[in-house]
Symmetry: D3
Subunit: 69 residues, 6 copies
């Protein structure tokens, strides 16, 4: 399936921290850059997310803020 | 100012495409990986965004979807 | 690819309305219920979206507000 | 009150799962299609959400990703 | 209808700027503080938004970033 | 750093409620108006958020819904 979301950063899961309903996933997308994602536990379980997994961090363009010094 | 948003990808603007109210900004965040952002024209004007500018793509963790093959 | 996003509504495109940078897509997800999506023109072009196409409207749970009378 | 949000899916709550700060709500929006929402506990309490309640899942168009095979 | 969204800022529309598909609405929420919203033209038309209208800017808590000096 | 996000509401933290992975922050932005934010615990810790802190609630225009009676 192709997605309209313009951002797809490939990487490897570094950490999965599960709460009661929400899981935080940290993905190394290369060169030490980390993408952090907050998802439901249900999603983390269904995708069986664990450190070392190859995953993609997907983000809609309308959710990307630009900062400039 | 420090931000609660967990994702901050540094890069260089590659392209700025302005519509009537909405501007699409493409940022090279390294190794040919492109982050795409959709912002208001007002923001693009106020930050004077143009190709070559050093910028940061900022994203809240709750906006990051995880995909796994 | 499996996605962490919990909402995936299958349907058929009813309308594609393209602006200068942003495209509005209307998807009939059954029983006359319409899902409306606002995406970049680039995405609409790359996915070659047109009326009649079978598509899925994908939404992260953190973007769903609950309303109750 | 009329809302600018273009997506309003009417349904019945199937499940409410409360964490320490975040609650997951599952809404049957018809034909076995489930909408999942992640909200604050405060909101779940204030709206007194419980299985069987008639509710509406509300989503802004800019939060809807399109997927196409 | 009560909404799970925790942020509801009441104010008066100051400006409506319509593009081809997307409209920018500026709302004075008091003391010179302006809330800016980007919505579909369809929504702006259906709600008949115009300067002077009393409106509410509604935002989900998961969309609010905290910045601290 | 200047941000493309069009909404920046200055205020004082009133409450910080920490869950296992997610923290709810309430900010008084003046005249008794409260902005509520849901962020990761990691962010709350890194910014050392506590009642009384001067902070800014930052929101992208595409995340602002307009409601009209």
């Amino acid at each position: 399936m192709k997605l309209s979301a313009r951002n797809a950063f490939h990487g490897k899961i570094e950490q999965v921290h599960k709460g009661v309903t929400t899981t935080i996933v940290k993905v190394d997308i290369g060169n030490g850059v980390i993408a952090t994602s907050s998802i439901t536990n249900e999603a983390a379980d269904e995708l069986d997310l664990k450190p070392g997994d190859a995953v993609t961090a997907i983000i809609k363009s309308s959710d990307v803020i630009i900062g400039k010094l």
